[in-house]
């Protein structure tokens, strides 16, 4: 009786494309190897500590100060990138001009450049006698070896995240939507605010969040320009490095786990929020 009613049950569960098991298996294996295993190592290292020890390490005043510096600098850098990255993506998608390809390629430079090189270059440029620094000093702005320098370094290394997440969405935006809005009498500002921006919003938030989490862990570019003064311009990744130099692996892991947790929670929250937003647009 049952088999009569569902004669296709067996065939239905078959996949059209072969290789699902193999490809998923290989992917999971590599994810385990390069992501999960090191993370497990981190957790094991941390679990050797007692809870009070752990708490003591991660609430050390100098470390807490570094959290604040790192988070605020990362926030400033990612917000700056949100605005500037959106502008850059807009220019690259909307207009034709000579050198467009070149600028498009240069956007990826922070990814390609070793972060230490970026850090040294930025430090040299913004030093009191550097190309930019000499003018900024006259204006009374000090960038190198201050928290502002940290923001500059973070913004530099994480800019591509915003541009590369917003760009494809902007490219796929139907010109008809804007034409429809304009034909209904909307001003340019109104079209941007009500039609274009809501469409870009999820991608922009994702880009800014990626930029933020990347900035939280930035080390190479930051330490050369930050000055690394305790309580003022030390970033958390530097604190991890210092603990490592002291051969205190457990403490280093403990501090690292705080950054890791913060990043994971943020990324997860963004993913959930974005899924909800997109669900509405796609009508599921």
């Amino acid at each position: 009786m049952k088999s009569q009613r569902w004669p296709l049950t067996k065939g239905r569960s078959k996949r059209v494309l072969p290789g699902f098991g193999l490809s998923l298996g290989v992917s999971l294996f590599f994810i385990s190897l390069v992501l999960l295993l090191p993370l497990t190592g981190l957790v094991i290292e941390v679990s050797a500590m007692s809870l009070s020890e752990f708490w003591f390490v991660i609430t050390d005043p100098r470390v807490v100060a570094s959290y604040k510096v790192t988070a605020l600098a990362a926030l400033a850098a990612s917000l700056f990138n949100g605005a500037f990255g959106l502008l850059l993506a807009w220019v690259l998608v909307r207009y034709e001009f000579p050198g467009k390809r070149l600028i498009d390629a240069v956007v990826d430079l922070p990814f390609a450049l070793p972060t230490a090189v970026a850090g040294i270059t930025l430090a040299t440029l913004f030093a009191a006698n550097g190309w930019y620094g000499q003018f900024l000093t006259k204006l009374g702005i000090e960038v190198a070896f201050t928290p502002v320098g940290i923001v500059v370094a973070m913004a530099f290394t994480s800019l591509p995240f915003v541009v590369r997440t917003v760009q494809p969405v902007l490219e796929e935006l139907a010109p008809e939507d804007e034409e429809a809005a304009v034909s209904l009498g909307a001003s340019d500002a109104h079209v941007f605010r009500r039609v274009i921006f809501p469409a870009l919003w999820p991608a922009l938030v994702t880009g800014v969040a990626l930029s933020f989490t990347r900035s939280l862990g930035e080390f190479g570019a930051v330490i050369f320009i930050a000055g690394n003064m305790p309580y003022i311009s030390e970033v958390t990744s530097l604190m991890i490095f210092i603990r490592l130099q002291e051969y205190d692996y457990a403490a280093a892991s403990a501090i690292a786990s705080v950054i890791l947790l913060a990043s994971l929670v943020l990324l997860f929250a963004i993913t959930v929020w974005q899924a909800r937003y997109l669900k509405r647009l796609e009508g599921r």
Binding site: E176, A180, S183, L184, G185, R194, L281, G283
Partner: protein
């Protein structure tokens, strides 16, 4: 508002999209821009809307030059083939968009806007979907919402770019009828673009046939079908059967096939165009024509039966070398046409293009046949 298009030229790189197009769209009429893809019909519509600018020429609404006017100031309603609804707004918010966009001084109050949106939702018969998002609607519903959105600000001109192009046949038919009612109820001057000749003939008061960036013919649907002014219009408006050959002593012949041409003085090359309904089928040649054809296929198309035939011993014009004849179900039942049968085409009315003449001459065999009989009786 009447629309005047005067000497519009438009070029996209090397492609001449519109070549000196002039056109009068009368007030309150529903006009179709009909043509194959690449004929410039959509470009013309977009230039009238102001979404595209012409290289030269002038657009006027009721005699007022609007060529330099921005689309947002032209006060037109524009409907897109793929709806272009704002995905992140509800149906109600979409419809209210035009009113929300008005400058503060002209903008109605919130309650007035809501009231207007409710009226429009009633009009499109979708009041229950006000809080839905576009992705949750069917194609037909989306296009209704798009229409409501475009007329919310009460434009005098409604422009539609292939409004039913993305919909299936049944929905398309319903929406067509609905649009016709909407147009009659409100006092619009409407233009819609289509490549579907049936849609153009059924829906519009006036059809503008376009080809290669030029206007081929402008006329009412019935006139257009009965009296196509050029070979292009003939070919484009529905199926047509063509025999080309030499005209000698009042008869056109090609190989063994021939047909008399009563009242035609011309000598030399000519093409005879016949609509599927202007031809009957007989089992033997008649006095005025010998056009043998072999049946290729018989298909039931709704209320009619379509017979496809291949010329026997002569060539039809056109790549597929097929003639199409429409017969009634009654005829089909009595004659029982089957694949492989030999039949003779009996032209009733035809249209003769001679030499390089753009305009055809109408040939009517029914009258010529009838005339002697009438004389005999008297």
């Amino acid at each position: 508002m009447s629309i005047t298009v005067d000497g519009i030229n438009k070029r996209f790189g090397k492609f001449q999209a519109l070549n000196n197009v002039s056109l009068d769209i009368p007030e309150g009429k529903l006009t179709a821009l009909l043509g194959p893809s690449g004929s410039g019909k959509t470009t013309l519509l977009r230039i009238i809307a102001g979404l595209e600018s012409a290289d030269s020429g002038q657009i006027s609404f009721s005699g007022q030059d609007v060529t330099g006017l921005h689309v947002r100031d032209r006060n037109i309603g524009f409907v897109f083939q793929h709806y272009a609804l704002f995905r992140h707004m509800t149906v109600a918010q979409n419809i209210a968009f035009g009113l929300d966009s008005l400058p503060r001084k002209q903008r109605p109050s919130k309650t007035d806007i809501q009231k207007r949106v409710r009226e429009l939702l009633e009009l499109i018969q979708l009041p229950h979907l006000a809080q839905r998002y576009p992705a949750q609607l069917s194609g037909g519903q989306k296009q209704r919402v798009a229409l409501a959105r475009s007329i919310a600000t009460q434009p005098k001109i409604l422009l539609l770019d292939e409004p039913f192009g993305a919909l299936d046949a049944k929905v398309r038919k319903d929406l067509r009828r609905w649009l016709r009612n909407l147009h009659d109820e409100f006092d619009f001057t409407s233009i819609f673009v289509t490549h579907d000749q049936e849609e153009a003939l059924e829906l519009s008061d006036q059809v503008v046939v376009m080809s290669q960036g030029q206007v081929e013919q402008v006329n009412e649907p019935i006139e257009l079908y009965a009296r196509p002014a050029s070979r292009f219009v003939f070919d484009f408006l529905g199926q047509v059967n063509v025999i080309s050959g030499q005209v000698k002593q009042g008869s056109l012949s090609q190989g063994t096939a021939w047909v008399t041409l009563p009242g035609v003085q011309h000598k030399g090359d000519a093409q005879l165009y016949l609509r599927p309904h202007e031809v009957r089928l007989a089992t033997a040649p008649v006095a005025h024509a010998n056009l043998p054809l072999r049946i290729e296929a018989v298909s039931l198309i709704g209320s009619e039966v379509r017979v496809e035939l291949r010329p026997e011993g002569w060539q039809s014009e056109g790549s597929d070398n097929i003639w199409e004849v429409g017969i009634s179900h009654a005829e089909c039942n009595s004659q029982r046409p089957t694949r492989g049968d030999l039949r003779y085409a009996v032209p009733q009315v035809g249209h003769l293009f001679t030499g390089n003449d753009a305009q055809p001459a109408t040939v009517n065999w029914a009258e010529a046949e009838l005339a002697p009989r009438v004389r005999l009786i008297s």
